[in-house]
């Protein structure tokens, strides 16, 4: 996944605001040091699967270098894109897992979480989470059937189908990630909080190698997401991320 996060306008508007004064996370941190069980949010590790997603056609086109002013899409390719989107709906098996963690401490470049050794390390992601008292770590995938079919097309000489299906898969997992973000926002709202934008290892100075710890903390192997030695997620069309809660 080489995609950048979509801009979350609300979070963007917030990024200019700096919280001075009391930080609830500090209190949370102190309490959690004494009562780790109370703050261990891992009691439940919500898993979501089969979440239905709508594949955004225009985003698929854009991913394939479509230019709305210049590109003239032929009927044949247009039909092919419809066909691949339809096929994708049958190939996609959405799975997601997320876990909420209280923030137990922080420096400018590190956000430590209660109940896990994993810490979020990076100046940019640290700035994003600077007001967060809690974070959700999440991982999601649209499964291995879609990438497998895409490779199969290519090995049959149908590169066009392969390339389109690959782009459809990328947009599908992006859409899934948006859905999961919406669920996290709902969970946050039930506790009177709002969420930051979604941020993944590999963005900014958050090293992609950190993905290993993140996936372990969230239990991503439960939904079949694995990492190869170069820190690429298998199945290919997967996303891992952090979302901050602020109140």
């Amino acid at each position: 996944m080489g995609s950048r996060p979509r801009r979350d306008e609300r979070a963007a508007a917030l990024s200019g605001i700096f919280l001075a004064g009391e930080n609830p996370a500090v209190l949370t941190g102190i309490l959690s040091a004494f009562f780790p069980l109370l703050y261990d949010n891992r009691v439940d590790m919500p898993r979501i699967q089969n979440l239905k997603i709508e594949i955004p056609r225009l985003d698929v086109l854009k991913r394939l270098h479509y230019n709305i002013y210049k590109t003239e899409v032929s009927d044949e390719v247009d039909n092919l894109i419809d066909k691949m989107i339809k096929e994708a709906y049958i190939l996609i098996h959405t799975k997601a897992v997320y876990r909420d963690f209280a923030v137990s401490g922080r420096t400018e470049t590190e956000v430590r979480l209660a109940g896990t050794d994993f810490a979020v390390v990076g100046r940019e992601v640290g700035a994003l989470l600077r007001n967060s008292h809690k974070v959700t770590l999440c991982a999601m995938t649209v499964g291995e059937d879609l990438p497998r079919r895409s490779h199969q097309y290519m090995s049959e000489g149908k590169n066009t189908e392969g390339v389109i299906l690959d782009a459809v898969g990328s947009e599908a997992v992006e859409t899934l990630a948006e859905k999961v973000s919406a669920i996290v926002l709902r969970n946050a709202m039930l506790e009177g909080a709002l969420t930051t934008k979604r941020y993944s290892p590999g963005y900014g100075d958050w090293r992609v190698e950190e993905q290993r710890g993140l996936l372990k903390a969230v239990g991503a192997n439960e939904i079949g997401i694995d990492l190869n030695p170069a820190c690429l997620m298998i199945p290919e069309k997967s996303v891992s991320a952090v979302i901050g809660w602020e109140r």
Binding site: L31, I48, L61, S74, E76, V77, Y89, H151, N159, G192
Partner: protein
């Protein structure tokens, strides 16, 4: 106090506002605290908040038990106190209400998602909701409010559990993003229909956003539910200011909208997040002496999937119930199901939806297969593939109940019949799980020979269903078809029975294909009979929507009985066919506009990527005397170059470039075999291509290969995740002119440097080109690569440049 449902007939009641923010205001919500435990530790504070709302004018106050399910309390190690916390919640609210306000006991969502969205089973969720409802009703609540739900299946489990656990009125509320859909995609009209069928007395929305977004939501619910409506909006959209969440809506603004809701016919109006006693006070004042507006009563049979509502009324288009998902006489489906797969069933579902089905029938009955498990799997898979409501087609009571629990919507049961056992088992299940019902006019004695007997059996089934709580609107009667080859009067009898049963105000469905057994050209007979049945008043046809002839009969008959208003559906379908025809012939039309003759057609075949026609076209050209070599150099290559230019000008996007390359590859494979020895086009050079070690993304590399091959380069594709040693060895072995390397990630990019270093160290003369998502010109330079290509067309340019300098 008088039963709240009686009071609601003539009066609007005002609900209280937010509880959480009030607790926060008292400084009680320290991080990690369980808000419901405050019922035990800070009872006076809880009573105080309730009192503030009662003084503000609330007629109904909510208990502090939103998160007091045993499952949620377990997160705080408090599950053993579930009963105590819930009972205290009701007791404290009653203490504040003093008989002047109703006490609504609150039940919120569980911390885990239900299957298929999560792991939690319907039964487990049911058990937890049942337990909480039991504690709340025992403690003396006046009604139960299930709120802030976003999964239709979860709230369905909750409503059913609460109805089973106690006799209190049930208020069921979901939360809709911007008022339109829950996060799992359920719109308000679906919530209304599904929860109404499950027996909710009051249906509404809470939280979500500000009141203005919920106006349309409440209209959608009101148009699809006969009972009472409730709305508890937030005080506007939350905003973060100085790190604190604030809600901006003023009491006056909330009061103004309370009146709007009253005019829509909403019966219970209050507030959710961000509202406080001042909002409620203003709302209560504005609603004083207001009566709920009368609403139009919705009619017709309704079915719903998680995301879509289907309504069948006497004057609406009849429904097509797609019959394909049935392993009987379906070898492919049977084999797939036997292997534990749902691929064929999912494809069948998608195809039938595409061809115009409004409902999909799911039958998983076949010898040797576990129907219960298959039915659960099929429901989970198919409701995830298409958004059409499903009909559960089984004679196995256990499979039926499993499916009803699994289904996130309001399904159709196919079917109950006049047999005593069937009526005693199926009808209660339909009523309990909120399903519509097909009743077959057959009993222990078989299909009655006389029309009158079929009609009285229809009456008997419908009567029993209505008595059990199924709405008369939700009943379809199937009066069955006998085979005309053995029963010449059979079809006429069925048509007569349809007319009579329609006369009773019931709806009628029918499977038509039985009629033609044993006769040739069965499709013609089926189509003819279907038209006649629609003429007699048929409301739902169980047919194969993938059969064009039967669909034509369905569409045209629907126009002729004026159930397809203004022939809109018919015209739409015909237009769809027309446009799919022109899409198929689009390419030749373009060719005709291009330079005439075989030369122009060859050129266009590449330009427009006509993969299917290129082989024949080349054969035609060769038969006409053209030389394979000329075909390639004079016509195909120039076309490909034009494709490259179009791509650079962005007139073409990636699929068009690849389609041209795919077409070129097919053409070139044909031509290679035809080329005389010595005539073979000289290779432009040998390129070894690889995605470097650790990286498994090879799609970009494959695109580059497809294009390079077309430009006459000989490609050695080493694939993905290739080690440095392998790449160097291949470069040596194939005497590569160029080594092309692809990497997508910052973590694998460094492998490229290893390869360029190793090639230099071993003095291999091959040039290197690098590319991939994160690779840049500057990086290429830094690691000593000879070239960097940003895309496939760029790779051709760089490769040509590098080799021309040789």
């Amino acid at each position: 106090m008088e039963n709240i449902l009686k009071v609601l007939k003539n009066k609007i009641l005002v609900y209280d506002g937010a509880f959480g923010t009030m607790l926060q205001g008292k400084g009680l919500l320290t991080p990690g605290i369980c808000p419901e435990e405050l019922n035990l530790t800070h009872p006076d504070d809880i009573v105080d908040i309730h009192l503030q709302y009662v003084f503000a004018g609330a007629n109904v106050i909510e208990t502090n038990t939103f998160g007091a399910s045993s499952m949620k309390l377990r997160e705080y190690g408090l599950e053993k106190k579930t009963k105590e916390i819930n009972a205290a919640g009701v007791k404290l609210a009653k203490k504040a209400a003093k008989g002047k306000a109703y006490v609504a006991a609150s039940i919120g969502p569980l911390p885990k998602q239900l299957q298929p969205l999560g792991d939690l089973s319907f039964d487990e969720a049911y058990r937890i909701f049942y337990e909480q409802a039991e504690y709340l009703s025992e403690a003396g609540a006046d009604l139960i409010i299930i709120e802030t739900m976003s999964d239709i299946k979860e709230i369905k489990a909750a409503v059913i559990a609460v109805k089973d656990a106690c006799r209190l009125p049930v208020q069921a509320q979901m939360t809709f993003d911007k008022g339109k859909w829950t996060v799992s995609g359920t719109p308000p009209e679906v919530a209304a229909v599904v929860l109404g069928a499950c027996g909710a007395d009051i249906i509404g929305a809470n939280c979500s956003s500000g009141p203005e977004d919920l106006i349309g939501t409440m209209q959608a619910i009101g148009n699809n539910f006969e009972g009472y409506l409730s709305v508890l909006p937030n005080a506007g959209l939350p905003e973060l200011v100085d790190g604190k969440t604030i809600y901006r809506a003023t009491p006056e603004y909330m009061a103004e909208h309370a009146v709007t809701f009253a005019k829509l016919g909403v019966n219970l109006i209050g507030g959710c997040c961000g509202t406080n006693p001042s909002h409620i006070k203003a709302m209560a004042r504005a609603l004083r002496n207001k009566k709920p507006a009368k609403r139009a009563i919705p009619c017709g049979l309704t079915l719903a999937s998680r995301t879509k509502l289907v309504r069948l009324a006497p004057d609406t288009l009849p429904m097509v119930i797609g019959e394909r998902i049935n392993p009987t006489n379906r070898k492919d489906l049977f084999a797939d199901l036997s292997a534990g797969k749902m691929t064929v069933a999912r494809s069948d579902a998608a195809a039938q939806a595409q061809n115009g089905a409004s409902i999909l029938d799911i039958n998983m009955g076949a010898a040797g297969l576990d129907e219960v498990e298959l039915m659960k799997g099929a429901i989970a898979n198919i409701q995830n593939t298409v958004d059409l409501p499903l009909a559960i087609d089984t004679t196995d009571e256990r499979a039926l109940e499993a499916a009803l629990k699994e289904y996130a919507g309001k399904p159709l049961i196919n079917s109950v019949n006049g047999k005593k056992k069937s009526m005693e088992t199926v009808i209660p299940l339909a009523a309990h799980y909120g399903a519509a019902l097909i009743g077959l006019t057959i009993d222990e004695k078989g299909i009655p020979a006389k029309v009158g007997e079929r009609v009285s059996m229809a009456k008997k089934i419908a009567g029993a269903a209505v008595k059990a709580g199924v709405s008369k609107d939700d009943i379809l009667i199937d009066c069955l078809t006998l085979t005309v080859s053995s029963e010449p009067e059979g079809a006429k009898l069925t048509l007569e029975a349809i007319r009579k049963i329609k006369g009773l105000g019931l709806k009628v469905s029918l499977g038509v294909s039985n009629v033609s057994f044993g006769l040739p050209n069965r499709r013609a007979l089926n189509a003819g009979f279907l038209s006649m049945a629609i003429g007699a008043g048929l409301d739902a046809a169980i047919i194969n929507p993938n059969d064009g002839q039967i669909m034509d009969a369905f569409l045209s008959a629907s126009v002729l009985v004026n159930r397809d208003k203004l022939a809109a559906r018919y015209i739409g379908e015909m237009k769809k066919r027309e446009s799919s025809k022109t899409a198929g012939t689009a390419a030749p039309a373009k060719s005709a506009a291009a330079p005439a003759g075989i030369e122009g057609r060859l050129y266009n075949a590449i330009l427009f990527g006509e993969r299917d026609g290129i082989k024949d076209l080349i054969a035609e050209a060769i038969a006409g005397g053209m030389k394979p070599f000329d075909i390639n150099i004079k016509h195909l290559v120039p076309a490909l170059e034009e494709v490259g230019r179009k791509f650079e000008r962005k007139e073409y996007f990636l699929p068009q470039l690849i389609l041209a390359a795919d077409t070129m590859k097919i053409a070139f494979d044909v031509l290679k075999r035809k080329l005389a020895a010595g005539e073979t086009q000289k290779s432009s050079g040998t390129i070894v291509m690889a995605t470097v070690e650790g990286d498994v993304h090879d799609i970009g590399k494959n695109i580059v290969i497809a294009v390079l091959e077309n430009y006459g380069f000989s490609i050695v594709d080493l694939g993905k995740n290739v080690s440095c040693a392998e790449i160097v060895a291949a470069a040596k072995k194939h005497k590569a002119d160029i080594v092309g390397l692809s990497a997508l990630m910052t973590t694998t990019m460094s492998e490229m440097e290893k390869v360029t270093g190793a090639l230099a160290a071993q003095k291999i003369p091959a040039k290197t080109i690098v590319g991939g998502a994160v690779v840049t010109q500057a990086y290429a330079k830094r690691i000593g690569a000879d070239g960097y290509a940003k895309d496939a067309i760029d790779a051709v340019r760089v490769a040509k440049e590098l080799l021309s300098g040789k």
